[in-house]
Structure formats: structure tokens, C-alpha cells
């Protein structure tokens, strides 16, 4: 007589248990990324801060020193910081206008049939492994600069800028396109009704309305450029000089780590981790800027 309620209670318990359990599984998965982040930060900072805390190296000499000669215990990364900044700015100057115009074209001007071809192509560009960009740069861009422009070496700042500009396109295009599409149709209709041309409407109404989204696209593209390693290592030349012209070969922060980690040990290795901290600070700064932009965009 009482078997039925007991059974139901049992099945209910089971249900609650599964409910709770799956909740925990999801929580664990979600925590994985947080844990990874903390581990990576912890490890890089732990290793990278050692030379300055335990071994008496000066942070100022590290950040602003011009000489990087690990075998003679000279660790100055100023040329690399400058190289990273130049390369990123250069890539932005080329990549952002091209990316933005592509996004405008796809969202506002292109007939559906053409957009159907360009959109997947841009997305596919994002999926190409970065080392292939490097190989392309080494096999096409570097010889082109050497043979057509008569540079004595194609591995140069301009080669890096060209490769990075291509690499940041998918990010800039996709994010900017989404932002432009999100602008309410009534804005365009209002502008057109007042007699403005289509191009006038795009630049005076649509783009300003999508400003925060476009800024996000720029910052994300910047992040892509400053953190890129494999493509850059092949076309940068990796010289340890402060670049004074577009034809100088450069060594950005990322390639310094990738280039020398293989053989480094002791202080040299720790200094490469310290280089990683500097790189990480740049990314952190960009993320901070990004957070500011999106919070403004919300208002």
C-alpha cells in the first residue's frame, strides 16, 4: 500500500542527485579555464620575477636596456618592445582601413550573392594556421621585397607589418561587420529620407553609431598582432636593433621567447619568462581598454 510513494520518493532523489551532479560537472568545466589562466599567470610571473628578486638584476635595465647578449649576462629588451609596438601600429594602419571597408561592404553595399562568397573567405582566413602565414611571408613577401624593391634583405619591419595586417583582417572584419549590422534600420532610413547619399549615410550615420563595436574590432586586431609569434619569426629577421626604418629587420617580444627558449637555461630562461610578463602586460592593457569600450558601448 505504501510502496508507491516510496518508489516516487526514490526516483525523485535520483533526479535531484543527477541535477546536482550535472551542475557540478558544468561548474568544473567552467572553472578549467579560470584555473588554466591562474596557472599560466602564476608560472610565468614566478619564473620571470626570479632574476629581479633573487639575483639582483635591475628591472629598469631590463626594460630600457639596448643590449640583449644572454651569453654575457646582458638582458635589455627595449629594442624588442619598440619593435613590437612599431609592428602592431604598422599592421593597424594597413589592416584597420581594409578590414573596416570590407565590413562596410559586406554589411551595407554588397549584393547577397557576392557577400556569400566573401564572408566565408574571410572566415577561412582566420582558420589558417599562423605558421602558414609565416611560410607564405617567407616564400612570397620576403623575396618580393628583395627582388622588386631591391632591399638587401626582405626580412624586415615592412614584411612583418604586411603579414600581420593580413592576419588581423578576419578579426577586424567579423567584429566590425557584426557591429554595423546591429545599427537599427531606422537610422539609415532616416538619413536616406533626409536626402543623404548611401556613402554619406554609411560614414555619417552608420559608422558613428557602430563606433564602440568598431573600436572593439581594432583592439582585438591589435591583440592578434602583438601576440603573433610563428608567422613573425620567419619574416622578422630577428635582429637586435631599434628599427629606424621600415626596411630594418626586427625582433618583437614574442619571437625573442620562441627563438631562444630551446637552448636557454638558468637566468637566460628566466629572462625569457620576464619577456613574457612584459608581453602579458601589453595584452592585459588591451583587455582593460576593451572592457572600457564595451562598458561605454552599453550606455
Amino acid at each position: 500500500m505504501s510502496t508507491l510513494p516510496v518508489k516516487r520518493e526514490k526516483s525523485n532523489k535520483r533526479k535531484y542527485f543527477m541535477e546536482k551532479l550535472s551542475g557540478k560537472v558544468f561548474l568544473f568545466c567552467a572553472l578549467l579555464s579560470v584555473i588554466s589562466l591562474l596557472l599560466i599567470i602564476g608560472f610565468v610571473f614566478f619564473k620571470g620575477s626570479k632574476p629581479f628578486i633573487g639575483e639582483g638584476y635591475s628591472i629598469v635595465d631590463f626594460l630600457f636596456g639596448n643590449d640583449w647578449v644572454p651569453s654575457e649576462n646582458q638582458f635589455g629588451i627595449f629594442p624588442m618592445i619598440v619593435a613590437s609596438i612599431y609592428a602592431t601600429i604598422g599592421a593597424l594602419i594597413i589592416g584597420v582601413p581594409v578590414g573596416l571597408f570590407t565590413a562596410i561592404f559586406l554589411a551595407e553595399i554588397a549584393p547577397k550573392s557576392i557577400a556569400k562568397i566573401i564572408s566565408p573567405a574571410v572566415q577561412l582566413l582566420a582558420g589558417i594556421p599562423s605558421v602558414l602565414y609565416g611560410v607564405f611571408g617567407l616564400a612570397v613577401i620576403v623575396p618580393f621585397l628583395q627582388n622588386q624593391l631591391g632591399l638587401i634583405k626582405g626580412q624586415s619591419l615592412i614584411a612583418v607589418i604586411l603579414v600581420l595586417a593580413i592576419m588581423m583582417l578576419p578579426t577586424v572584419v567579423t567584429v566590425a561587420e557584426t557591429a554595423i549590422r546591429a545599427v537599427p534600420k531606422s537610422y539609415r532610413e532616416g538619413s536616406l529620407a533626409l536626402g543623404a547619399s548611401q556613402i554619406g549615410t554609411i560614414f555619417k550615420v552608420v559608422v558613428p553609431s557602430a563606433k564602440s563595436g568598431i573600436m572593439t574590432a581594432v583592439v582585438l586586431g591589435m591583440g592578434r598582432a602583438i601576440g603573433e609569434t610563428m608567422a613573425v619569426i620567419l619574416v622578422a629577421g630577428n635582429s637586435l636593433i631599434i628599427p629606424t626604418s621600415l626596411t630594418d629587420s626586427i625582433r618583437p617580444l614574442t619571437t625573442n621567447i620562441a627563438l631562444e627558449m630551446g637552448y636557454a637555461f638558468g637566468t637566460h630562461q628566466e629572462m625569457l619568462f620576464a619577456t613574457g610578463i612584459v608581453l602579458f602586460s601589453f595584452i592585459l592593457l588591451l583587455n582593460f581598454v576593451l572592457a572600457r569600450i564595451s562598458s561605454k558601448g552599453g550606455n
Binding site: 596557472l39 651569453s71 628583395q146 629577421g237 629587420s249 631562444e260 637552448y263
Partner: protein, 291 residues
């Protein structure tokens, strides 16, 4: 309290959620660091077998590791290899800290007095240029002047009127250390705007595609895509290295004190000099002592 009850009552919610998360993260972090620490300590120890301790050159080290690995497959012996640099290895052999020292440079007179040396292999480095380059021979001084930026145009050494682009390996690379040591300049003196390429293959590709370029690679990477340069009139061949005529080469030495060498150590050296050992030498890209 059964697990079902525990979960039913809210389980982990009993612990403050945030504290829980931090706790989990901390525990995992500690576990990971602990794992890392253990890994460093654990080596291949083999019961009560005899141990041969070897220390020295980081250039000879990888070759010695390969040889030891093959040797241990057939012999019940432990081989401990520490790559701490040639000079430190030689000192250890003299003091008896290590049974065998590894060196990638010739012994000095005072070191020769107390140590026995065995050449286990040779290492050869060749200066390479673009195939279109007419310069077929350089003196060691010219090589030094090119890599330190005193000579900046190929016409100064009998070539075309072209600027020289120096290509070097990265700091820390054994080939770069060897090259700099033999040619006689330090990392700080290397011409600043030289291209730095990682690996022999990368240098070869860079030099093969740039008519201005000059670089250096190991013998094993020589092929038709690049032009090899003779040094002081001696061609870069394994024969010339063995005849000790070609100067951009160095011996890989095992050094030991006669009274410190155990039977096991002696057997290991014999193995390296056997045809099987020398085959491994050739496989790792060094020049075998016997052709």
C-alpha cells in the same frame, strides 16, 4: 551521512561557494607544481647497477645522451650525464667529481698532464653563401671581420659590389658558440643588424634566397642550394677535418683520469669507438673518427 544525503542537502553548497572555488584552484595549482618538482628529480635509476658519471660540454651532451641511451639498452648500467660546459666538465674529471668529462675544445697543456683524452667524434662548421656568390675562399680573419661588421661589402673580399647580410644562429646555440669560439669573436661583437635564424635549415633557406647573405651551418646540411666557402684555402670536407687541416672544426672529447676510470666506463668508451657507436655518431650529424 551518505553521499546521496550529502548531495541532497546541498552538498558543496554547505561550504561557501567562493571559498570552494579558490580552494579547488589552489589544490590543483599545488598538485601541478608538485608534479613539476618530482619530474626534475626522477631519472632512470636501475637497481644496484654501476653508475658512470659524465659531465661537461653542452655540444657533446646530446651525442653522449644518444650513445648512453643505446648503450643502456644492452647493458645493465646507469649513465648520468650533466651538461655543464666543457671547462666545468674538465675540472670535474681532474677532481674526480665525474668519472668522465666531455669537452668540445682541445685540452690545454696543464690539463693534458693529468688527463687521458679520447676523440669520440668531430664537429665541422662551414661558411655558406648564395650560389651566385663568386667568393670561394676566405681567411679566418676575413670571416671574423665580416661577422663583426668590419667588412660590409663583398667587393672587399674579392666578390661583387654587394652589401653583406650576416645570418647567425640564436644566442645559446651550440653551433654558434663553437663558431664564435673558433673564429674568435664574442656574442656582443656580432654585427647588430644580422638576421638571426633558428636552426641550420632556417639559415640555409635564408642564405639560399638572398644573394647578399653569409651564414654558417653544420656539415650535414650542405647541399646544392648554397655555396660553401673554403677557409684559408682548405675545402670544407670531412676528410680535411680528420686530417686536421680544416680550421672550422673541433673535436668532441671524452677525458678521464686513468685511476678514476672504472671497467664500466672503459667499456662505454670502447662502445663509442666501435663501428656501432660511430654509426650513432654519424646519425646525430657529427663526423665519425673513423671513416
Amino acid at each position: 551521512m551518505s553521499i546521496v544525503q550529502f548531495v541532497h542537502l546541498g552538498g558543496f553548497q554547505m561550504i561557501d561557494k567562493r571559498k570552494g572555488m579558490v580552494l579547488i584552484t589552489l589544490v590543483l595549482t599545488i598538485i601541478l607544481f608538485a608534479c613539476g618538482k618530482n619530474e626534475e628529480k626522477s631519472g632512470t635509476t636501475n637497481g644496484n647497477a654501476a653508475t658512470i658519471s659524465i659531465s661537461g660540454s653542452t655540444s657533446v651532451g646530446p651525442l653522449a645522451e644518444k650513445l648512453a641511451e643505446k648503450y643502456k639498452e644492452k647493458n645493465n648500467v646507469n649513465i648520468e650525464i650533466n651538461q655543464i660546459g666543457s671547462s666545468a666538465g674538465i675540472t670535474n674529471a681532474v677532481n674526480g667529481v665525474s668519472e668522465i668529462g666531455m669537452s668540445s675544445r682541445d685540452l690545454k697543456e696543464e690539463e693534458k698532464a693529468s688527463l687521458q683524452e679520447t676523440v669520440i667524434a668531430y664537429d665541422g662548421i662551414v661558411v655558406v653563401t648564395h650560389p651566385s656568390n663568386h667568393v670561394k675562399n676566405l681567411t679566418i680573419t676575413q670571416v671574423k671581420d665580416i661577422f663583426t661588421g668590419k667588412i660590409t661589402n663583398w667587393k672587399e673580399v674579392g666578390g661583387d659590389d654587394l652589401e653583406i647580410v650576416v645570418v647567425s644562429r640564436e644566442d645559446g646555440s651550440g653551433s654558434r658558440d663553437a663558431f664564435q669560439e673558433i673564429v674568435g669573436y664574442s656574442s656582443g661583437e656580432l654585427v647588430r643588424n644580422s638576421i638571426i635564424a633558428s636552426g641550420n635549415g632556417n639559415i640555409k633557406t635564408t642564405v639560399a634566397t638572398n644573394k647578399h647573405a653569409v651564414g654558417f651551418i653544420s656539415f650535414e646540411y650542405i647541399d646544392e642550394s648554397i655555396n660553401t666557402v673554403s677557409i684559408n684555402g682548405v675545402e670544407a670536407t670531412a676528410e680535411n677535418v680528420l686530417r686536421q687541416k680544416y680550421s672550422l672544426s673541433r673535436p668532441f672529447l671524452f677525458v678521464h683520469k686513468e685511476e678514476n676510470l672504472s671497467d664500466e666506463g672503459k667499456k662505454f668508451i670502447d662502445f663509442i669507438l666501435s663501428s656501432e657507436g660511430q654509426k650513432i655518431v654519424r646519425e646525430t650529424g657529427a663526423i665519425p673518427v673513423k671513416m
